[in-house]
Subunit: 296 residues, 5 copies
């Protein structure tokens, strides 16, 4: 997630450098040819260019909106994960019967597994290798599955079952906690859906194509008097459209380990702090200050 | 679902080849007539063409948005099917009483039927003949109904009832699992709704019509100096609009066994792997690498 | 609901025939006057016409979108009715205690009443007289109320109460089935909301007005050289806008017994078939093939 | 709510009469000055006016959409109130134990209070004095609170508690009815949210401002040949934009006792009839035919 | 939240004063240079400027819509907080067993903590120091946590547990109240999500950039005859676009202690009054009349 500070413009420009070079070369070449009268006969009425530009702007508007909604949906899902993580632990703390010897141990088990689950989900969505603590957990618990976060939820159910057998939760409470686990399972599946569903490729390509067609038409609709102005416009306008398009592309995939990502690691840290305080642990990590123009 | 790799442009162009031929012929004919002065008197002010082009772009923008939402809704529903399939099996595993002799058998029954349900739903939405394993299940269970997936959900309830009679689940747990089955029933119905509801036909036809009207008007608003440019624009711009329209049409029907489909078979395989690992089965199939530019 | 086959263009044109006549007459009259130089001094810059045309296109775009959403919402509600009808019957079949003598009778009572409810709701939304079987049910059950579908839901509750008294359902199950009935009550109310809420009239009139203002301005922005072209454009463009508007108007009211309707009768038949198979009835009606370009 | 009959155009025009007078005066003055050559040097290229007009149309489009959604949300909330009122009474009728002496009394108490609640909510949202029957209820029950509808919901809970004490409802049923009351509480709060949240003022003012800027620029972009046409356009186009804006303003506040309101009184009457029939009351009021072009 | 009265235009203008100065200076400089013929050769066809202006308007339209939706979502969340606060207290009042000695004390404890929670949430979202009464509560209850509102919800669960131990609530009722607390936890998390998620920075910057590019191009598309008109348009149009953009920026962050905020303090006061009346407290504070053009 980008923070509200000076972002690195350079980083952004790097992502569209190929387009910048292509369009600039074209503009300069056409501009010079035009100057020497080679392309005098070719002229596209500015009205046609205008229609096309409007079409580009419109489709970019809708596309940006769809990308924004995908980005925002990802953020909503992780917001729900924060809430349900807290709710799960609050329910364990207050539902499990206090007198029992295993009370502390079982609550801590649920709480710690929930923290691990958040980190593991973030890492598997980003296709990163699991971090040290997730691996440690996996090894000490012998968790083996293709989908680790899903396996962790099954282990939650097992712990709950253990609590039930010790008569530490009653029937309603088991079902109520199970509903919270089901909501976490839902959120997990929604993240996977966004991760695994490629934004319609043909749609993206068509928008990219019409920006380039627009860029090609543009110089033939401009007057040829003043070379610098013509070249400036021929470069500037398409680049802005491409920048807007690129920005959508970055927003539409929010789990790719890049600056515009949903800040899953950051949120997992917040969840960790909240949960540890809820179960009365004293060794609570402090929130790190972000050192970059974004948090992951 | 298209994958994030080079898509087959050729396949896409094939879907609009009739339009390409029609528009190209028109452009060439009008261009040549124009050259010889037959159509000198007919001229449509570029402003009118521009308005029309803007209207086309706008209506295409909204239409693409509606198609995208339909496509995304289908994907959301199948995401929910993934989640609820996992939740159903997790609930059976942890709710059914362990000591009982039938525990393994009943859990496996639910799990396998849920896997079959996913395949059967995908196949019946695509109006394909049922695959080998679905037919085998149907025959060994004597399942007979017009709507097989619905019948499978009824069989889920029967198994649940069996478990209840053996006192393996209590009242709450039965109701909680029943809620999960009801959500699966909901998702099934939502898929059927999208499948069976034709996108408003008159609306589609009108948009198609105005693209053609625009294509017809276009050459009369262009200057006639340079034949190639005129013909190029008269062909290029309408084709782009038609490509965008075609893409919407492909997106709006996501259960048609074509590249832009919701990848139901692929998702069913994922569900199968997850479920089999959850019930501790060792013979888990591996996920196949996609060999094409899309998965179904 | 329109089917995916050749729709009757003639039927659609009939709905806008008054507008076609009006606009055509105007175009011809203005065109002829123009030809004879009566209106030479009146000229509206094409730029103004263009702004206006864009405004028309934009407002039509939003309006079509709102109409589409209303139409789609109606379809979603009926999709939910299909799902909840199946869920209700599935719950009765599996929750009611089997040993009891009244089991068959009570399940059949619920199932049949649910089928009747679907037909009755569709017919009362369309303000049609009740069909033969609904009347027969009403008479044999002495159901008397202004709102028949609502009364049928109350009778569902009564049957449920009977089952409870015979100890055929326990407390949870009663509450769970009651939730399903409450969802059906919700869907019914949502249909009534769409039926009874007129699309904002002033909003519709304003859009209609600006299309006519646009049609009036249009010929004065066109060149007068070639009469046929001028008349063609003056007729064609406004007619297309009016066709789009008309189509929205037809979509926004989905319970009016016309081709674009939510296919309530068709869905009720599907529900009937599904339900009858679920309760093991052998006399299941077959789905009729649609004979027209739409189903109701 | 406007009905689907001839609306009073006059009433609508009255709401924008100040704007009509202002714009007409301006148009006439500029037109005459122009005629006498005073403003010859001032000319705004029609292209700039066109951009501006497009911006106006676009922002109006979005604004109308937001107003429409607010209006439709209000209607959805009241639709939910209709459904939950019916569900509440149906639950009381079927959950309360029949044998008990107080059965009739308690059901009637809930039903009547629910009817009163609907009227009271509508009247307090419209900031009207309470109607006769609400006042009568308040007096006979000594209900005292700033927020009367909220107090009525608390009284629902008290009645439920009474039923519980008499062992007329069990634990589940109490919780299930309580959920229905919680949904009514939700709907009430949603209405208050819409009522109390002013549509962003600065946003409204900016749109109003740009319409006026557009109106100011317009005559300088038109040709001056034919005075009547210039004045006509200068008056007509801005007035249409203002009418669209005004219509949004009327839609965005749906609880203001004006024609475009959510028809709360009308819906309360429908609820009253439904509820009275559900509890078997014979003295059911008849629905009045609307006498005006709208119902409140 | 802005009230429906004369807003302070001056306050708004102050927020964009830098842009106003920049654009005005530019317009004057270019205007004067133009007058003396220095920039004669540079001319941008008005068509290109028009496309660009349309793109600006479009992207501003979408951006305003996204900001509006964020602002409205914040308002919806706080509406839900109002409803669930009332529901929580209503449930405590009617579910807790009356005969018990601690009844009054426990209900008051829940009610007061809920009031404190609302104030504490508002203050921590605005990053303000806690108000006197929140600090007093924290001190007397020894509440220590990074996230105070979350800690308060945990204390709600503790009180509920106390009530359970005294047999004042049964299992269902505990679970039902717990669901209400879970919804409050959800709303809290949703607020934090909106607060902590920066609106996509790159997206904002691009829109800001294209407004400035448009402002730069604008004077070269205007005729140079009348200096005052040229300068007026060059200043006026971009300023309006910037004002619309600024307004979106203010709307998109609704918890920043500025006039367009969600009125959290005001809503907390409403909740306080409602809750105190519900538990029969006599010392109910009166709602203050707003003294400014907004409430916080």
């Amino acid at each position: 997630m980008l923070l509200n500070k000076r972002i690195s413009i350079l980083d952004f420009i790097k992502t569209i450098k190929v387009d910048i070079v292509l369009i600039s070369s074209y503009a300069v070449v056409v501009g010079i040819f035009d100057q020497y009268g080679f392309l005098d006969k070719i002229s596209v009425p500015i009205g046609v260019t205008a229609v096309f530009g409007t079409a580009v702007a419109l489709l970019l508007g809708f596309r940006t909106n769809q990308a924004y909604e995908r980005w925002w949906e990802a953020r909503i899902i992780w917001g729900a994960i924060v809430n349900d993580s807290r709710t799960l632990v609050r329910q364990c703390v207050s539902f499990f019967k206090r007198g029992n010897d295993s009370y502390e141990a079982l609550v801590a088990e649920m709480a710690n597994r929930q923290i691990i689950w958040c980190y593991a989900l973030g890492e598997s969505l980003r296709k990163l290798p699991f971090s040290h603590r997730v691996i440690k957990y996996k090894e000490s618990n012998k968790t083996e599955a293709f989908n680790i976060p899903n396996a962790l939820l099954s282990e939650h159910s097992e712990t709950l079952l253990k609590a039930k057998k010790k008569k530490m939760v009653n029937d309603f409470q088991q079902v109520q906690i199970d509903s919270t686990i089901a909501r976490l399972c839902d959120s997990m599946g929604k993240c996977e859906r966004i991760k695994n569903t490629v934004f319609p490729k043909a749609h993206s390509l068509l928008i990219h194509l019409i920006i380039y067609v627009f860029a090609t038409m543009l110089p033939f609709g401009l007057s040829d008097e003043y070379l610098a102005v013509e070249i400036g416009l021929t470069i500037g306008i398409p680049i802005i459209f491409i920048a807007i398009e690129k920005n959508s592309i970055l927003m539409q995939d929010p789990f790719e380990n890049q600056p515009l990502d949903t800040p899953m690691t950051d949120l997992a840290e917040t969840i960790e702090i909240n949960i540890k305080q809820m179960i009365g642990e004293t060794d609570v990590p402090e929130k790190k200050k972000p050192t970059d123009y974004y948090v992951l």
